[in-house]
């Protein structure tokens, strides 16, 4: 376990140590979230590295990462804890077979930690060996509003209540990172309890750095071309712009295909790695890709 970073620079360094190239604004909010113990709410398009931030923080601090993936219909039983019914049932039957089914004793025995199945939220409230864990609540926009409201209590007081066991309070509040792809608006009441940051697409310089750390096997020239092309692509009117994750994937694809430099044919073959909508692929495939590529090459020649 490492101590919390003492300054914004130290935070950036810590993230960089985990291969996460963090811009100044992001380092600032991460530092504040750690220092003030507030949840950090990250919004942004898919594939800009929101989930990666949580992973980098956990790895950088040497903490356990607990991930709660949200989905529609997620409820307290699958987010906090559940009882192991099958085991409880067997315990009841065994007690019956043994003859001495003392009600109170049985009840006291059935609802104990032995039969408790911990889910992410409860796990995050438990003391951990390496210090408070990092709790990643991923894609919050996918849950429904009742669950969002349930989170309000958990996030402001860092405690959960289980009727049979009572209230469990975190000895040390976990570091909470919430992410949202903004497929729907998250309620202001939840946002108010968090520090907010909009994670944007990186600029060319930062994206080059990211590629250099995440796909080092690509040559410098290929990296520069890939970044320039993706940046160009983001300025096009696309249904879903390629994220950083797509850039990394694409660079790896190109390396796997032994590509030395981009050509319209190679782009056409691998377009599926960066564009995920048929409409977008149709629009870019063919002459459009060639045009973009020639623009990229021309600009590169000038600078």
């Amino acid at each position: 376990m490492t101590d919390l970073p003492g300054s914004i620079d130290a935070t950036a360094e810590m993230l960089a140590g985990q291969g996460y190239v963090s811009p100044r604004a992001l380092s600032t909010v991460v530092f504040l979230a750690l220092k003030l113990g507030r949840p950090l709410f990250l919004e942004g398009e898919a594939g800009v590295g929101k989930t990666e931030i949580a992973k980098a923080i956990a790895a950088g601090l040497g903490r356990r990462l607990i991930r709660l993936q949200c989905y529609e219909g997620l409820d307290a039983a699958s987010a906090v804890c559940d009882w192991n019914f099958a085991a409880q049932m067997i315990a009841i039957r065994t007690a019956e077979a043994a003859g001495g089914a003392d009600r109170d004793a049985l009840k006291g025995e059935l609802f104990t930690e032995d039969y408790l199945i911990e889910r992410p939220l409860l796990a995050a409230m438990r003391p951990q060996a390496g210090g408070a864990p990092v709790l990643l609540i991923d894609e919050l926009d996918r849950t429904d509003e009742p669950f969002e409201a349930f989170l309000l209590e958990a996030l402001s007081d860092f405690q959960v209540t289980i009727p049979e066991l009572g209230t469990i309070r975190a000895p040390e509040p976990p570091i909470v990172i919430l992410t949202s792809n903004r497929t729907r608006e998250v309620h202001d009441a939840l946002k108010r309890r968090c520090l907010y940051h909009w994670v944007d697409y990186p600029d060319a310089a930062r994206e080059m750095q990211i590629l250099a750390t995440r796909a080092p096997e690509a040559s410098a020239r290929l990296t520069a071309e890939v970044v320039a092309f993706v940046q160009k692509l983001r300025s096009e009117d696309l249904f879903k712009k390629p994220g950083v994750a797509e850039t990394i994937d694409w660079a790896k694809c190109l390396v796997a295909l032994d590509t030395i430099q981009l050509s319209p044919e190679v782009i056409a073959d691998t377009l599926g790695a960066i564009l995920k909508y048929q409409d977008d692929i149709q629009k870019i495939a063919g002459s459009e890709a060639a045009r973009l590529l020639s623009e990229v090459k021309r600009e590169a020649a000038f600078t």
Partner: protein, 411 residues
């Protein structure tokens, strides 16, 4: 951290007030957070100070630009950093900081309030008064029900608004994965069964059951507010406001957008209780009232920026437009197709349909019609009442099939 925090918290509070005036929802709790955050981050650079305050005060991507502007105006003192640092060091603190704070406040207030707010759209321009023979054979309400919105007098519009506010738009719930206890359900609820058994010392007497809990769908309204639609869209928005604010009427959330030459999200304004205040605020935001129409490009913006946000959970779309579009029909058709594919149900309300002899002649209408589930008129209270009935009937297509057949014949 100094014992006497001095002018810094006050400045941040003033800054928060400036932001609030600029439209950001900021409560007092956030100001306290911001002061704490600034203390934690320290003043090493203007950039960090900016990001720190941004993280505390901004909670929506569209507010970032407003924040940036207010920040620039509010903290534009070039000596600001030194000044702020001196505030944190009690020993060097001068006496003029109160003055500086006052000046900054005045500057920001001027900057924010000096420019006049955008003018509201003209409020209900009176349509030409038309003498109507109100005979005693039908009650006033009965006659108003079928009267064309465009032909109503001011008094009649007021009365019609009252009637619209009482209208319902019923809807059927959707099934979900989430369950709820239900005696007639089919899934065994192990948790509830076991708990009941425990009450009897472990004797399993009867099983508890669960059934999927129903969920209400969302409603997304896309309302054309161009010149040709103005007398209809205003009253239809009244209706939408009533639907959005009726408690227990079914719809989980109602999102509303207006479009003419550009798309505007007016969902937040519809949440105001008073319908006139809500529409006034919506009008101030949508600056293209009674202008031209570019349906294709407006739908393009909606599809690109909003459809995945608001249509994600089985939303029903109400498109209110006359379909008279000057843009390229092929592009319009493409956007309509995408909208249709991402909506659970796409219902097009067109006031032009009130004419008996309506035929899909305009290129825009021909491009749009194949991509809707239901095509109906929306020119009177009665037609909106019919809509309520149609929305619950699963296969209702309104006039679509008849008109599509007419289109095929004409070809």
């Amino acid at each position: 951290m100094p014992h006497d925090p001095g002018a810094l918290p006050r400045n941040i509070a003033h800054f928060a007030r400036a932001l609030r005036r600029a439209g950001l929802p900021i409560g007092p709790g956030r100001v306290v957070d911001a002061v704490r955050a600034v203390e934690a981050a320290g003043f090493t650079s203007r950039g960090d100070f900016y990001h720190t305050l941004m993280a505390c005060f901004v909670s929506r991507p569209e507010h970032r630009a407003v924040f940036a502007q207010v920040f620039r105006l509010f903290w534009r003192d070039p000596q600001f950093l030194e000044h702020m640092m001196s505030l944190l060091l009690p020993a060097v603190r001068g006496v003029q900081e109160d003055k500086a704070a006052e000046a900054a406040e005045r500057r920001a207030a001027e900057a924010l309030l000096g420019e006049s707010l955008p003018l509201l759209p003209q409020a209900e321009e009176p349509p030409p008064e038309i003498e109507i023979d109100a005979r005693a054979t039908a009650s006033g309400e009965e006659r108003l029900r079928t009267l064309d919105f465009e032909l109503m007098s001011n008094d009649e519009i007021a009365e019609a608004k009252r009637m619209l506010a009482r209208l319902d738009l019923p809807v059927k719930p959707l099934a979900t994965r989430r369950g709820a206890p239900d005696a007639r359900g089919r899934l065994i609820d192990a948790r509830a069964s076991l708990r009941a058994a425990l009450r009897r010392g472990g004797e399993m007497q009867r099983l508890s059951y669960r059934a999927p809990r129903p969920r209400w769908p969302n409603l997304v309204v896309l309302c054309d507010i161009s010149g040709s639609m103005s007398s209809y869209s205003r009253l239809v928005l009244h209706f939408v406001h009533a639907v959005a604010n009726r408690k227990g009427q079914g719809w989980a959330r109602v999102h509303a957008f207006t479009f003419g030459t550009r798309l505007t999200n007016i969902t937040r304004h519809l949440a105001r209780r008073d319908v006139d205040a809500a529409l006034k605020a919506a009008g101030a935001e949508a600056q293209d009232w009674s202008g031209g129409t570019r349906i294709g490009s407006s739908l393009h913006v909606f599809n690109r920026d909003w459809s995945r946000r608001v249509l994600g959970q089985g939303a029903v779309v109400l498109l209110i437009s006359d379909g008279l579009d000057r843009d390229d029909p092929a592009a319009l058709s493409r956007e309509m197709q995408r909208l249709h594919l991402s909506a659970r149900r796409l219902i097009w309300l067109n006031p032009l349909l009130r004419w008996d002899g309506f035929a899909p002649k305009a290129a825009g209408i021909r491009a749009m019609l194949p991509h809707v589930d239901c095509f109906r008129a929306a020119h009177s209270i009665a037609s909106l009442e019919d809509l309520g009935a149609a929305i619950t009937a699963a296969g209702d297509a309104g006039e679509r099939d008849r008109l599509l057949a007419a289109m095929a014949d004409a070809r």
